[in-house]
Amino acid sequence: SAVISQKPSRDICQRGTSLTIQCQVDSQVTMMFWYRQQPGQSLTLIATANQGSEATYESGFVIDKFPISRPNLTFSTLTVSNMSPEDSSIYLCSVAESGEYNSPLHFGNGTRLTVT
């Protein structure tokens, strides 16, 4: 399966600032996703990162708060903007193994974000 590198692995940020998380894959992938995991909770899909077009956001997530870039088939970024303590979570990028929804999903190591 693809090797997914995510950075930073963790960060502590001040309220009101923004953090950009990078996700690099060692092969070209069609489908890349960003998830959020709040403390003690399950994973929630933020958006699907589409190469060459705007990301597709899930209900409850908006582009102004979580802008996503996907400049090519191996790289994506997620920015958490104007952060508040409620944004403290693990953020994970993931890819579908064979470029289809109906295929195994693999994750990067995640970014553990704490907002003070």
């Binding site: 399966s1 996703f33 995991q37 399950s42 994973l43 929630t44 899909l45 899930e58 693990i90 994970l92 929804y101 109906n102 295929s103 195994p104 999903l105 693999h106 994750f107 190591n109 995640g110 553990r112």
Partner: protein
């Protein structure tokens, strides 16, 4: 939308014991996957199992799609099995992967 419930929510085992984790889902699905999240937060895909039974070492999984459940078996548990186990289902209606509530497993030496 589709609901995905896992049981038990928490489980404590002694090293060497066996366990069964369950995943129930409320609607038909296109696939089901099991993941292990270790205490450092890393998520590993254990099984892609839309139906039938698969085995990988001490772990095996069975999905009975017609009855809307899946089981994950862990045999001869080790401390490294500790963490959270998630099942996730692909909704046929939305093509979105929906994660279950998770089972927190602690294996004690």
């Amino acid at each position: 939308g589709i609901q995905v419930e896992q049981s038990p929510p928490d489980l404590i085992l002694q090293e060497g014991a066996n366990s069964t984790l369950r995943c129930n889902f409320s609607d038909s699905v296109n696939n089901l996957q099991w993941f292990h999240q270790n205490p450092w937060g890393q998520l590993i895909n254990l099984f892609y199992i839309p139906s039938g039974t698969k085995q990988n070492g001490r772990l095996s999984a069975t999905t009975v799609a017609t009855e809307r459940y899946s089981l994950l078996y862990i045999s001869s548990s080790q401390t490294t099995d500790s963490g959270v186990y998630f099942c996730a289902v692909l909704s046929g209606a939305t093509n979105k992967l929906i994660f279950g509530t998770g089972t927190l497993l602690a294996v004690q030496p």
